[in-house]
Amino acid sequence: MGNDRTTDVATNPAPRARADGTAGVPEQGTSLWGDALYRLRRNRLARFGLAFSILVTVVSFIGPYCTPYSYDATDLVYGAQSPSPEHWCGTDTLGRDVLTRILYGGRISLTVGFLATAVSLVIGVLYGAVSGYLGGKLDAVMMRAVDILYALPFTVFVILLTVAFGQDLRLLFLAIGAVSWLTMARIVRGQVLFVRRQEYVEAAVALGLGTPRIILRHVIPNVLGPVIVYATLTVPAVMLLEAALSFLGLGVQPPMSSWGVLIKEGAEKMDIYPWLLIWPAAVFSLTLFSLNFLGDGLRDALDPQGARD
């Protein structure tokens, strides 16, 4: 695609005539999203982050079906073996294939990460948008509720839940989901406070549109930039949280695996069987890095300042 902007309607020069060749400009009207995507694609680290995140996700979800071992199949005869052509990443003390366990663990870690982020997106964005847009007393009450949840010490909260309801993976999801939307709600509310003062929102009110429609069509799209960035950064944060809980023995329970569990097990034997720690830790760190690179890249790409120069 060419870089001549035939879609310019302005009678005066376009506000952003770009000197650099703009690949991928759609025929009609480059959206701000299109621009952001373009800037994202030029960011090498972000591109790497995106590619690696997708790769890890796909491999984690498909991989366990392709390896010849089961995540909990023990082989007590051989015990821990160092990496070999049969077991690419070695086996643990119970003779379980480490690669299979990493893939399987990735499935759980990533699910926790994405699910909690989805929860934080839906609840956090709606909650924050309603609170910020309607303002007044409702806003004050809603935000105090967030403050109270914020003040709960998270680990204690999880321990209490575990004591009350016993060990359950669903509980872990619930606990993480319950806290992950709080920051999102605050971020969105802050943005909405700004957006609702904008004239186009006032114009939408003057058009007679109802409040839900204004929030969904005019307010939320205008706060999505920070939301996407924060969501991308929530995934690794939640995965780290899950790992920490599993490391403390409060999260995923053996024989199931998650990256946190694997790192915990690996750390216990790292002086004798270093591969038990190295492989899961490497995959986990790389994934966290990737997601953070992607988040940072998105932040730069969606920066309204960047969008206007």
Binding site: S31, E202, L207
Partner: protein, 332 residues
């Protein structure tokens, strides 16, 4: 009468006192008529317009009193849903700043069809067709293609045309235009006003046009309201008000039009400041800046007819004590 506003008062209550932004305004608007509203910055023109559509932020704002009868409903007392059905459908509003009145994340098409989908229940293709016709009518070339662009691809003048198209696309009975061309250059301003006039005639829409430009009022409006400190000080046909101003404030406003000055003469400015709207003013609000003010101007004043189509709030003019120089009807 299409719209009948009676004794509208809109106050803003803050910690520092009560701002009487609109303080007892009454006027009426006939079908198809164009009413100009002029007055210094901060005299309550915008607040008056917003009050009619219930767009005043509450708090701090409050409509203290008044009625605005429009087709059997009182706009100031009706329910939120009744008001929503009027806004953007039977009464539309165009704001001052075209650069910020369009949502930057939505295509122009999405925004222009919105009132049609929402109020008229049209299907998307039918709405799009009408939207394109509306853009065409306000003078956007190649509307069928450009409607799919994003707002930033339009210049200020084009955006204001879009806003006007959006406001008129539902064929409203009243268009409220709050300084629609202030942010634009003079030639674009003239083009746009001309388009609005044409469309107004076609659709039979009445218009309330807020502006600082007395020349625009003279060229476009049928009747005029002169506002000062939240009150109407003079109203009447353009010919009457401009030909023989009946309030010292109107006369002073006219005198301060630069174009009417001889070259080299110092520009005329009205001495003093508009009054602080937080202070309760018993008499004529303009008295402290008025060269004709006497003691009786401190007593309450009200808008009274001089002739059937010319009203003033100046007690001395009503009593025939003073005569004011008329600048003659300015025309463009």
């Amino acid at each position: 009468m299409l719209l009948d506003v009676d004794n509208l008062r809109t106050y803003f209550h803050s910690r520092h006192g009560t701002v009487r932004a609109v303080d007892g305004v009454s006027f009426s608007l006939g079908a198809g008529e164009t009413l100009g509203v002029v007055g210094e910055s901060g005299c309550g023109k915008s607040v008056m317009c917003m009050s009619l559509l219930g767009l005043i932020p509450q708090p701090p704002g409050r409509i203290e009193s008044g009625r605005a009868r429009f087709g059997g409903v009182d706009l100031l007392a009706c329910s939120a849903s009744e008001l929503r059905a009027v806004r953007g459908c039977r009464i539309s509003m165009v704001f001052q700043d075209p650069m910020t009145s369009l949502n930057p994340y939505l295509r122009v098409s999405t925004q222009v069809v919105e009132p049609l989908l929402y109020h008229k229940g049209l299907s998307q293709p039918a709405a799009l067709e009408q939207a394109i016709a509306a853009l065409d009518a306000v003078g956007i070339p190649d509307a069928a293609r450009r409607i799919h662009a994003y707002p930033y691809e339009f210049s200020g003048g084009m955006r204001q045309r879009v806003m006007i198209a959006m406001a008129l696309v539902t064929r409203p009975e009243i268009l409220i235009a709050d300084e629609p061309t202030t942010a634009l250059d003079v030639t674009v301003q003239a083009q746009i006003l001309e388009r609005v006039r044409t469309m107004q005639r076609e659709l039979g829409t009445a218009m309330i046009l807020v502006t600082h430009d007395l020349g625009v009022v003279a060229g476009v409006c049928d009747r005029i309201l002169v506002m000062y400190a939240g009150r109407i000080v003079e109203s009447g046909t353009v010919r009457a008000v401009f030909g023989t101003p009946a309030h010292p404030y109107t006369a002073a406003l006219q005198k301060s039009i630069p174009a009417l000055h001889r070259k080299g003469d110092p520009l005329y400015t009205i001495g003093g400041q508009p009054p602080d709207l937080r202070r309760e003013i018993a008499g004529c609000a303009f008295a402290e800046r008025c060269e004709f003010a006497v003691e009786c101007c401190q007593r309450p004043v009200e808008l009274r007819p001089l002739t059937a189509e010319h009203w003033t709030a100046c007690t001395r003019r009503l009593a025939g004590d003073i005569t004011l120089p008329g600048a003659g009807t300015t025309s463009r």
